[in-house]
Symmetry: C2
């Protein structure tokens, strides 16, 4: 049976302007890879309702799980939840359980839980809350879409609660071999090795370090023996045993 | 006149597995922002022909410029150029000018410019080469799509040659104000300021540092005066002048 699949939607003008580097994608990718869920696509979209809605609807139809990060705070530019509600065509209102979670976080809920903060208790109908142990304002899951915070520290804490709720697959194992040789010198033999081992994926990643070229060969498989067999062939290619 | 727009396609399983963090997107984003081109969308797709072709065709129809990174090397997993040719429905063959560039890079072109390396001289019909001052194998532009290397050092060098060929717009200016206050405490007033200044975009980015919450307010505009007026209102919000 093939592994479950996933897509990530990063919402935010600040990523697209280059001001902020997205780190949530890599964090998610590593966690999903560990439990056998294949992250297949990532989209970074602007704070624009049409773009957010289109991405959510395209990806939730295509992949087992979708994750979003960003745009669920209290300010005017936090439009993710309204877009999610529109994408699912459901109403969005302040929900009592979410409001209580927020209220419990303030010493003076009457004044501190102001109208802006109440926006964070607006949850699309039919969603299940995702715990936020850091700043309390919850994320939520609706259908196969997990709506989470953009701040990395909070995204990561929310994900820790989400991971056990996902159905994983067979983890993809990988091993990496670093060569001080250029890709072009090993490409033909490597292509042959890739053909000889249909149950593994062999990736070749060139790098430049201190002006010298090298190549990382990454061998991935769900089957440990198949991975090791291919790795042996790669090692033999570098230092042939006669 | 609105600014030209752009999209980025990052091609590579190694990003989606979390093994490698993509840095080309942020580098591109900063460069485009400086010359008034709005990066509107980024997609990270797997080494899968259907996904690559679909992303190229969706984005080249929607945005002024498209940039791709990754998958143009000599190994079996470098499938970008074949996908680009299919997306544009044009043939792809070894091109003499590209072959010469590669040959000039080797002391013994007859042996070193092997079949695998010759793959890097395969260029979709109708493309214009993009110079690669680092490892020589060229990128290319076809239609509005710029096909570039994945290795950051090479991507950046190629981009340096591409930037002067692009038609920019009015650069987006920005100023950032850092507050030691939580978003929820300033959200209502900030929303009002955003409404009062329709020619600026005001972004609010919460952060957590050493356990303390804070907010970065970023004010963006093509109009310097409008940006400064809005910034004054934000500063006045923090420390009202009576």
């Amino acid at each position: 049976m093939p592994n479950p699949t996933a897509a990530m939607i990063v919402i935010g003008d600040e990523i697209l302007s280059g001001r902020t580097r997205d780190t949530n994608t890599q964090y998610l990718a590593i966690q999903l890879t560990e439990i056998g869920i294949d992250l297949r696509e990532v989209r970074v979209v602007a704070d624009n309702p049409d773009h957010i809605i289109a991405a959510v609807n395209a990806l939730r139809a295509q992949y087992t799980y979708v994750f979003t990060s960003g745009g669920i705070g209290p300010t005017h530019d936090d439009i993710t939840s309204d877009c999610i509600a529109k994408a699912f065509n459901v109403p969005i209102t302040v929900r009592e359980d979410a409001r209580k979670i927020l209220a419990a976080n303030y010493q003076n809920p009457e004044t501190d839980l102001n109208e802006a903060r109440l926006r964070m208790a607006r949850i699309p109908q039919g969603a299940t809350l995702i715990d936020n142990p850091i700043s309390k304002a919850p994320g939520y899951r609706i259908g196969n879409v997990h709506v989470m915070a953009g701040v990395p520290y909070i995204f990561e804490a929310m994900l820790a609660g989400v991971i056990p709720t996902l159905t994983g697959g067979k983890p993809l194992l990988s091993t990496s071999i670093r060569l001080d040789r250029r890709e072009g010198d090993i490409a033909e033999r490597l292509g042959q090795i890739a053909e000889d081992h249909p149950n593994v994926t062999i990736g070749s990643y060139p790098f430049v370090r201190d002006g010298a070229f090298g190549t990382n060969i990454v061998i991935r498989s769900q089957d440990k023996d198949a991975m090791q067999d291919a790795a042996m062939d790669v090692l033999d290619m570098i230092a042939p045993i006669h």
